[in-house]
């Protein structure tokens, strides 16, 4: 009985403590699961613009002309002539790919997705270092939550009855999937 009280208290307190992180990881998990379909961290919007014929000029002068025609008053981070027919102008969270001499511009704007960027940063452990240890601690916490969770309720609703079947069903899903993939 004392042991069960300890299990319940541990499960409850860890549940409160890790609730926030669980929500962050769950939201990021769904976002990252669909990485083939979208960029979960950045919203990239590209707009095609026509500037008209551009003069043959040195790279810097050409970049200045492109910025002037687009009415952009910003110092580029860098300018690169990728090929005789292509110029790239990089601005803060904005990339211009210019077709020379035709003057077609792919104006790409990059924006961090609100909250998702931070959630993915944590979930994917992009920062490494300290967060690796915090994430490890969280993983141990989840393990304790899972282990204590199955012993909270005794009797027919716990491991002695329904709980047992639900536990087996939950384990069965990944096993069945792996077996299906192997077959």
């Amino acid at each position: 009985m004392r042991l069960r009280r300890l299990i319940i208290a541990t499960h409850r307190d860890l549940g409160y403590f890790f609730a926030g992180l669980t929500v962050i990881y769950a939201v990021s998990g769904v976002a990252v699961n669909h990485i083939e379909d979208w960029n979960p961290s950045y919203a990239v919007r590209t707009e095609l613009k026509e500037l008209g014929q551009l003069p043959e000029a040195p790279t810097e002068a050409l970049a200045d002309e492109v910025l002037r025609r687009l009415a952009i008053d910003e110092e580029p981070t860098s300018v690169v002539r990728m090929a005789p027919h292509q110029l790239k102008v990089f601005l803060d969270h904005r990339n211009l790919t210019v077709s020379i001499p035709g003057g077609t511009v792919a104006d790409e704007r990059v924006r961090r997705r609100f909250a998702l960027f931070e959630a993915n940063f944590l979930h994917l452990n992009t920062g490494k270092g300290l967060w690796t240890w915090i994430a490890d601690l969280y993983a141990v916490g989840l393990l304790v939550l899972a282990c204590t969770g199955i012993f909270i309720i005794p009797g027919t609703k716990g491991l002695g009855g329904r709980g047992r079947w639900l536990l087996l069903a939950g384990l069965g899903i990944p096993i069945a999937y792996l077996a299906w993939m192997a077959w």
């Binding site: 960029n39 027919h85 300290l130």
Partner: protein
């Protein structure tokens, strides 16, 4: 949310700044350990001589894998020649917003020979792109097919071969 933001800031601060030659910025992977960069033009002039060697290149980031950040293209702004830095998915993630920033990257130089089908498909896709606005947009050549290298289907090709660096680390100027 405030706690998340605070944690994010702390993690960024812990990541610290790295120095590669004269380049100061954020380190990715094992950072940069080779003191002297090999000019990209030298690397691509006689690429076979560098295959299997660990090299460092410096330049401007002109492309990043949009979905996974699993590769970036470092281009010499003086020559326009670039090389892809391919990293393992999830091990190093290059931020999409780092485009236009200076970077130093190192790893093992590798040659990936394209199949005749891939060469034909790439040529067709490039021709199609050059004819339309896609050339300016730099859209990935979806029809060209992605070789096993996973460095983007628009990776620069030379002599039917994609030369790339299996990246182990990089420093990107903030």
């Amino acid at each position: 949310m405030r706690r998340t933001v605070a944690a994010f800031v702390i993690v960024i601060a812990m990541a610290g700044l790295a120095v590669a030659g004269e380049l100061t910025g954020t380190a990715y992977g094992s950072g940069v350990t080779i003191a002297e960069p090999t000019p990209i033009a030298t690397l691509l002039a006689k690429p076979e001589g560098f295959v299997g060697q660990k090299v460092r290149v410096d330049g401007v980031i002109t492309g990043v894998c949009e979905k996974r950040g699993c590769w970036m293209q470092v281009t010499d702004p003086d020559t326009g020649q670039g090389v892809r830095i391919k990293v393992e998915d999830g091990v190093i993630v290059f931020p999409y917003e780092s485009m236009g920033h200076r970077a130093a990257a190192e790893g093992t130089f590798e040659a990936v020979k394209l199949t005749p089908e891939q060469v034909t498909a790439r040529a067709a896709a490039a021709k199609e792109a050059a004819a339309g606005a896609a050339a300016a947009a730099g859209e990935p050549c979806e029809k060209a097919g992605e070789p096993a290298v996973k460095a983007g289907c628009d990776a620069p090709v030379q002599n039917d071969t994609i030369y790339l660096i299996r990246g182990t680390g990089a420093v990107i100027q903030s």
